[in-house]
């Protein structure tokens, strides 16, 4: 950017700010329900301040270190605005509207030099476009973080280890088993085995929609790890279609105890531990 233009812009900072805020207030999309005019003024002032300081280096690259403060302010702004309920479009329009304020000023100043006016306009245009992309990126990044956190939470919540009897643990798996989840399931299960000193773990897969070779692989891994710890694993809840897929895929589960229902798995566990369940004459009705 031309040094003269820069000094001119700096000198007229106040005017630009006024024009910018006026532009924003005139905008039909102004959300005065979400943000007060005063706050809007302060935000605009901060951003313009940082921006004018950054362009004094004549380098108009948003990625460069001179622009770090500007990018920081934009990130902050994008996050707070997203929380306040602005749409990403509105946030990026906020930055774009600065463009018009710059043009208004430059148009008046560089009336006699159309070539320079054009050059400066293009540069400002590029710069502000980049800045608005930054706000967009931050917005998306923020959303992604939320999604990631929720995935983690879902994984945590969805793998409860239940102690059904002294020495018997049950682990109902609901939803698709992928590598990351298997890891969590395995860790939880093994940890619980150590803590409770249980000898038998029942993995109930009736809530797993499909079993492909990868899921089977994960199940086999879990069973092997349980065995290494010194406990025995029973897989229960194998539905007809899952049995079909397993056989069609040629997966060998012969070394693993499998049962159709949790009830029969529990029965097997009892017999493995030498526990007997039987009816008595005494009945209690609640």
């Amino acid at each position: 950017m031309n040094p003269k233009t820069i000094t001119f812009l700096k000198k007229n900072k106040k005017k630009i700010l006024e024009a910018w805020v006026a532009n924003q207030l005139a905008e039909s999309a102004l959300r005065d329900d979400l943000i007060s005019n005063q706050e809007l003024g302060t935000q605009s002032d901060d951003l313009l301040d940082a921006l004018l300081r950054a362009i004094s280096n004549e380098q108009l690259d948003v990625e460069s270190e001179h622009f770090m403060p500007v990018v920081d302010i934009l990130n902050e702004l994008s996050i707070t605005r997203a929380r306040q309920g602005f749409s990403p479009r509105e946030t990026s329009l906020f930055v774009m509207s600065l463009k018009r304020a710059f043009y208004q000023m430059l148009e008046a100043e560089l009336q006699n030099d159309p070539v320079l006016l054009y050059q400066e306009s293009v540069q400002i245009n590029n710069l502000l476009d980049n800045m608005s992309i930054v706000t967009m990126e931050t917005f998306i990044k923020g959303r992604e973080e939320v999604i990631l956190r929720q995935t983690d939470e879902m994984n945590e919540i969805s793998t409860p280890v239940i102690r059904v009897w002294d020495g018997i643990l049950a682990l109902p798996i609901i939803g698709t088993l992928d590598s990351a989840r298997t890891q969590i399931v395995m860790e939880n299960l093994l940890q619980q085995i150590v803590e409770t000193g249980s000898r038998i773990a029942i993995l109930d897969i009736s809530g797993v929609p499909t079993v492909d070779s990868l899921v089977a692989q994960h199940l086999i891994k879990t069973v092997s790890a349980t065995r290494l710890m010194g406990a025995e694993c029973i897989i229960s809840g194998i539905r007809a279609e899952i049995a079909q897929t397993i056989v069609h895929l040629g997966i060998d589960l012969s070394g693993i105890n499998t049962k159709a229902s949790l009830a029969s798995a529990l029965k097997l566990a009892y017999s493995m531990l030498g526990i007997e369940v039987r009816r008595t004459d005494k009945k209690t009705f609640i």
């Binding site: 085995i193 150590v194 065995r227």
Partner: protein, 132 residues
Amino acid sequence: MDKIPILKMGEFLLVTIQVDLYDRLALALESDLINMVSKTEARGVLIDISAVSIVDSFMGRILGNIASMSKIMDAETVVVGMQPAVAITLVELGLTLTGVHTALDVEKGMELLRSKIGYLPKDEEELYDDII
């Protein structure tokens, strides 16, 4: 060099590994243990690895070797107290230690050994009734 003590308990040998095993120590343990089995004519070997937090494929192989060697000399091997992280690592390495018996802790390991060789001391019978 460190040495891992091998304790004789009746018909069984008890090895408690308290340090992280490095390769030479593991090799020394292997030969010491097998010599001890042949000397004492032990019927069972119990290896407690509850304090071991790091394993590699070599360690896994040594455990497998000890089990096979003892088996040839008519002694059963039980590995007890494996940490969850260790179990996961071994599975990821593809070492499922076939031929090695496992148990949750020393007590259950001893019980398993006794049942394997068909030996249960009379006065302790009642003691194990309540363990499920």
